[in-house]
């Protein structure tokens, strides 16, 4: 009897792709993984749109703009289980270090006053094209926007943590998390 493969989707919102890189750090176990799962929408295979309903959605990064919120809600709609992968998805992470600074000040620093821009933007333009996602007042953890089922901490999460969690979830085996792979940094 061949078991139906679980379908996984992944996305990077306000993250640095480090969590995805750490995912690839499972090394040759990726061969075992593709025996167990198939990938749908994900930067790993470059599928841009959901083509079927997925079992597991993995989210890297929190929400810093309206496009992140849109993608996250799409994932909630199209996945049975959602996982927040890494500190940014879980609590905003480094992008959320701007949360204590008023948005106006952040934008002015980035586009007008910062040392690398202050001489090259004489018209003092802050980009506002409608095609550019609108930045939110602060960076939000994913579970403050949609329901998240599981959280895998780390910056990035250790490859062993990602592997153990996915393997347990897909096979129904017991999840073992050794102390040294459960870290916030």
């Amino acid at each position: 009897m061949t078991k139906k493969k679980k379908i996984i989707a992944t996305a990077s919102l306000a993250g640095c792709f480090g969590c995805h890189m750490s995912f690839l750090d499972i090394d040759e176990r990726i061969l075992n993984l593709i025996e167990l799962v198939e990938f749908n929408k994900s930067p790993i295979n470059d599928i841009k749109k959901f083509t079927k309903h997925c079992d597991i959605g993995i989210i890297e990064g929190g929400c810093c703009n309206d496009e992140n919120v849109h993608v996250l809600k799409e994932f909630r709609k199209n996945c049975d289980i959602l996982i927040s992968l890494g500190e940014c998805a879980i609590m905003g992470g480094l992008p959320a270090m701007r949360n204590g600074i008023p948005l106006k000040e952040c934008l002015e620093e980035a586009y007008i006053n910062g040392p690398t821009v202050k001489d090259v933007n004489p018209q003092k333009i802050i980009p506002f094209d409608p095609d550019i996602p609108k930045i939110l007042n602060k960076v939000y953890p994913c579970h403050e926007i949609v329901k998240i089922d599981y959280f895998l901490p780390g910056c990035p999460p250790r490859a062993d943590l990602i592997w153990n969690a996915l393997y347990a979830l897909v096979t129904g085996n017991e999840l073992l998390i050794p102390y040294e792979v459960f870290k916030y940094d």
Binding site: E87, I90, M91, G100, E144, L152, Y179, E180, K183, Y184
Partner: protein, 232 residues
């Protein structure tokens, strides 16, 4: 001569000197009670509530309790464990704890407790308060984002005239622990180092000493906080 008393912790018969702080008495009997605001050798404050245990079935903080004959102590029930987790999660929600960029990460008692309890996320919304960093001091940095207001620094660090170099600033939800510019003016490198070490988190840092220990060699990379007491 001090008298010894017999008491029970989690069903185990223990012995210690009468009137000893319960945290210490438990430690002598190889039992770890989690603490944050307590620091060996300085007067307890009872401010963080992490060390809450049941004493004769009533909750009390172990750092402010003195051990007496026949005390019956429970350090771990499902309710106590969840209460402790809630306190840790509250501290993470209430401040700005960006561990990936924190100098104290791997050596931080708050983070180590969160690892012990396998806290992946806080049950409370993240507050992201606006906090400042005092960096004007020649030797120290005081990062208010990470301060958990345990006051270990106020109680434990005095300059050579016996005056405290940390002091309360502001009040209520804006309470801050500041460096006193006067009493801290001429502190030695050793005292600055002591101040950094007495802080359970990364709220007091000695300049140019951050990230000195590589990942893998830090205190809590492989060792669970309290395991040195439990595995004696």
């Amino acid at each position: 001569m001090s008298t010894f008393v017999k008491f029970i912790i989690d069903g185990k018969i223990c012995l210690s000197e009468e009137g000893k702080q319960l945290i210490e008495a438990a430690k002598e009997n190889d039992i770890y009670i989690p603490t944050l605001c307590n620091y060996p050798g300085i007067p307890p404050k009872g401010s963080c509530r992490i060390c809450t245990v049941l004493i004769n079935n009533r909750p009390a903080t172990a750092c402010t309790t003195k051990v007496t004959e026949n005390m019956d102590i429970k350090t771990s029930t499902p309710e106590l464990e969840d209460f402790r987790k809630a306190v840790i999660e509250l501290l993470f929600s209430e401040g700005n704890h960006f561990c990936p960029s924190c100098e104290r990460s791997g050596n931080c008692e708050l983070q180590a407790l969160a690892y012990k309890y396998r806290i992946a996320v806080s049950r409370f919304p993240y507050f992201f308060p606006e906090r400042t960093i005092e960096s004007w001091h020649p030797k120290l940095i005081k990062d208010h984002n990470r301060c958990i207001l345990c006051k270990r620094c106020i109680r434990g660090i005095k300059n050579n005239e016996g005056k405290t170099i940390f002091a309360y600033g502001r009040r209520g939800q804006y309470l801050e622990i500041n460096i006193d510019p006067e009493t801290s003016k001429n502190i030695s490198d050793e005292l600055a180092e002591q101040a950094m070490n007495i802080c359970p988190v990364g709220a007091i840092l000695v300049k140019e000493k951050g990230f000195i220990t590589p990942i893998g060699k830090r205190k809590y990379d492989y060792n669970i906080i309290g395991s040195e007491i439990e595995n004696q």
